[in-house]
């Protein structure tokens, strides 16, 4: 096994719940397993039925194929896919280190204490298994680096509304931010900022939209939205604004700061807080002046499917145009989706 490959600890995360900073502080490169929409899910389908989240099955497929390249894997509690699939991974995904990281559903004081205890448990597990030391100072440095990356992403994402940046370009940088070592990711983001800053202004033939719903993990879907005439200039996705909207406090106990950070990020549908999730969307729409929302739900992604009716009705009642689509997990052109997007575009 090549040494540089063994320096990666991969993680399965249904949202943005996994404290990558702990992995980085321990001297490993955190890598978010995203699966590959272009590969068949057959390997995972030997263990998981076809009516389960296809993204989760794809993530397991990647883990089955690549776990030998990783020093270990952490599964972070997000939804019933992560917490139930862990056991299946434990039986079938070969890895020297598999850790379960529980995250709270809520964000109250009890939840903060629980999150802290889980952070300590994760640090302890990594230290003991890999015989490394993670001090408060090392974690504080990792938090600072995470903040630097988030700050660069905020700058980059801000260009969406001003410059001619494709949806694919935005998502591609987000994916790099979660799959490359952080220092390398920051260089990539800076390069992308330079490139996009020199582009022309936001194209006149495109409509600005906010994208919400299930996490988007492959650029082909973003292409399809682009091709229909929409540019995503705001979102609340995990491979998006949820990842960089807030910063980690750099004063005080770094574990406490990290716990509070993860419980304060824009709410995904996997956490209690429907009103907070709606408030973030309304705030983003009000700040940006966007009038149209694309709400999409990956087939079998339950948390967002539950939220969609109330969230979308609330946005419609406030005068926003909302398109809701249920999409397949496919890199191929999705014709029903294209038809819905085209109709939405025609509505002005």
């Amino acid at each position: 096994m090549e040494k540089n490959h063994m320096e990666t600890i991969a993680y399965f995360d249904a949202s943005h719940d996994m404290p990558e900073e702990v992995i980085a502080a321990a001297g490993f490169a955190p890598y978010k397993i995203l699966g590959d929409v272009r590969a068949s899910n057959d390997p995972a389908d030997r263990y998981l039925p076809a009516f389960f989240c296809p993204a989760a099955r794809s993530i397991m497929t990647e883990a089955l194929a690549r776990s030998g390249q990783w020093a270990g894997i952490v599964v972070a509690q997000g939804c019933n896919a992560t917490n139930r699939h862990y056991d299946v991974w434990k039986r079938h995904v070969p890895t020297p280190f598999l850790h379960w990281f529980n995250t709270p559903l809520k964000d109250d004081d009890a939840a903060v204490r629980f999150m802290k205890s889980e952070l300590w448990r994760l640090m302890d597990a990594i230290q003991r298994h890999f015989d490394v030391l993670v001090t408060g100072e090392m974690l504080a440095r990792a938090n600072q680096e995470s903040n630097r990356l988030k700050e660069r992403l905020r700058v980059f994402a801000g260009l969406r509304a001003e410059k001619d940046m494709t949806n694919r370009e935005y998502l591609s940088v987000m994916i790099k931010s979660m799959t490359l070592p952080k220092a390398e990711a920051i260089r990539e983001i800076d390069a992308a900022i330079d490139t996009i800053s020199n582009r022309g202004p936001f194209p006149g033939d495109k409509v600005k939209v906010l994208l919400t719903g299930s996490d988007v993990t492959y650029p082909e879907l973003m292409d399809q939205i682009d091709e229909a005439g929409f540019r995503v200039v705001r979102d609340d996705l995990s491979l998006g604004e949820r990842y960089f909207a807030n910063r980690i406090s750099e004063s005080g106990d770094p574990v406490e700061c990290l716990a509070r950070y993860y419980l304060s990020i824009p709410k995904p549908a996997t956490k209690v807080g429907l009103r907070q999730r709606l408030a973030y969307l309304e705030g983003a729409l009000a700040q940006s002046g966007i009038k149209a929302v694309i709400s999409q739900n990956l087939k079998f992604c339950e948390p967002y499917a539950y939220d969609a009716v109330l969230v979308n009705n609330a946005l419609k009642s406030r005068g926003y145009r909302v398109l809701h689509v249920e999409r397949e997990y496919t890199a191929a052109p999705d014709n029903p989706l294209a038809t819905r997007l085209a109709a939405f575009a025609e509505m002005g």
Partner: protein, 435 residues
């Protein structure tokens, strides 16, 4: 295996079959009537308070707060039994809810939105809504939606997941987190209803609840008898008091009566299929509430479901005489340790033990389109049981409350194949699994 001499299995699906019900089976109407009338009364009287709650939630806490529990899930099963669930589910889908979401949830959404009567799965607006993710995330997602829609305060208990390999020290930490939430819950209840915990009342509810659970566990002991005096055709209805009124005397009286019937039947060497019990089955998952005849269909083959983790899950050992704080810790421990949601390692061990204890000939796993958490790991469970217990295991993909998922011809064909495998095993041929 069986002490009696059973007749060969009747392979004619139309052959008449008689399943012996217990003499006091009909007495279930008394606790049901008590439950529905009391719930109605609590909903009407302004000084009385009600809460919607879900499976996995410790009802005894509510009883100790003088809050009456209303169960949307249970009412969803009522809707299905009354052949109303499809209409209500389709109504919810017309509101925008995906076909892939839980059919209990959609039945409830449809019932509330159409103002369905009680007998068709309707349910009153509560004073508070409380739930937990003990069983699934659907519970709190569903209740969050309804709390918003009905403008009712919501409290969610966050129950940490105990995955395979979790050590005791970690579990104790999880329990501490749960207990903290109990106190937050008491504050929430006081704020929204003015009710405060009555320790004596709570302890009494816990004691009665343990009495009810102990009776159910004793009933399960008798199900080990050959022939089994009690099958899932009846337990699926009679476990009702465990779900909705665990700390209430009326349910205890009913369980005492049916236990008396079961003892008598066992003493006489009789069973639910006396003289015809050929195959003893274990059924994993929630039954098809709209099609309870399925259990009677099995009887045509001489098959009796003698153990089901689903109804057993509602009868854990409850804490008594432990003192206040230790009682709360034990309640938290119980919430995280429900057989229905055991992690895979524990689930396999649990099944193997039940297969041995209940002399099981075959296992049916309901891969439930409405319950992905329960369906997770079923393939591994199936493989482990086939390999380690050498018995046939059948996975049926269906749905608990949505009759659109039930394909009678397909299921009958698979059951016939399954019965053939069990028969072959009885005649010493190697068993083969069914996918």
């Amino acid at each position: 295996m069986n002490a009696e001499q059973p007749t060969p299995p009747a392979m004619d699906p139309n052959a008449p079959v008689r399943v012996e019900t217990l003499p006091h089976a009909g007495d279930l109407r008394w606790p049901m009537t008590w439950y529905f009338l009391t719930g109605k009364l609590y909903s009407l009287l302004p000084w009385k308070k009600t809460a919607w709650t879900c499976a996995g939630f410790p009802i005894e806490l509510l009883l100790g707060l003088d809050i009456f529990p209303l169960h949307p899930e249970n009412m969803a099963t009522v809707a299905a039994a009354q052949k109303q669930s499809r209409r209500l589910i389709e109504h919810a889908e017309s509101m925008g809810y995906s076909r892939d979401l839980c059919s209990y949830c959609k039945t409830n959404i449809g019932a509330v939105d159409t103002g369905a009567p009680l007998k068709h799965g309707g349910i009153a607006r509560p004073d508070i809504i409380t739930c937990t993710n003990t069983i699934c995330d659907t519970h709190w997602k569903w209740f969050q939606i309804q709390a918003e829609k009905l403008d009712v305060p919501l409290f969610v208990f966050d129950c940490p997941k105990i995955v395979s390999g979790t050590d005791d020290r970690t579990i104790e930490g999880y329990i501490t987190y749960m207990v903290e939430q109990f106190f937050d819950f008491f504050d929430f209840v006081k704020k929204h209803t003015g009710k405060k915990p009555d320790i004596d009342r709570m302890i009494k509810a816990a004691e009665q609840s343990e009495r009810l659970s102990a009776l159910w566990r004793e009933i399960y002991e008798y199900r080990k008898h050959v022939p089994s005096p009690y099958g899932m055709a009846e337990t699926s209805a009679s476990f009702f008091p465990l779900v909705v009124m665990p700390g209430v005397r009326s349910g205890i009286r009913f369980f005492e009566k049916i236990l008396g019937d079961i003892k008598q039947r066992a003493d006489q060497g009789k069973g639910t299929l006396t003289g015809r019990e050929r195959y003893r089955l274990m059924f994993e998952g929630i039954p098809f509430w709209y099609r309870m005849r399925f259990m009677y269909d099995l009887a045509r083959y001489g098959a009796v479901v003698v153990y089901e983790p689903y109804t057993f899950s509602f009868a854990p050992s409850k804490p008594v005489n432990l003192g206040y704080m230790e009682t709360l810790r034990q309640v938290a421990r119980t919430m995280m340790d429900v057989p229905y949601s055991y992690n895979l390692e524990k689930r396999i061990a649990y099944f193997k033990q039940a297969i041995s204890d209940y002399r099981i000939d075959g296992v049916i796993l309901h891969e439930n389109l409405s319950c992905r958490p329960s369906s997770t790991g079923m393939i591994d469970l199936k493989n482990a049981l086939q390999q380690e217990c050498d018995i046939p295991v059948l996975i049926i993909q269906c749905d608990m409350n949505d009759p659109r998922a039930f394909s009678e011809a397909q299921i009958n064909t698979r059951i016939e194949g399954f019965v053939e495998l069990m028969e072959r095993r009885k005649t010493h041929s190697p068993s083969v699994g069914l996918d």
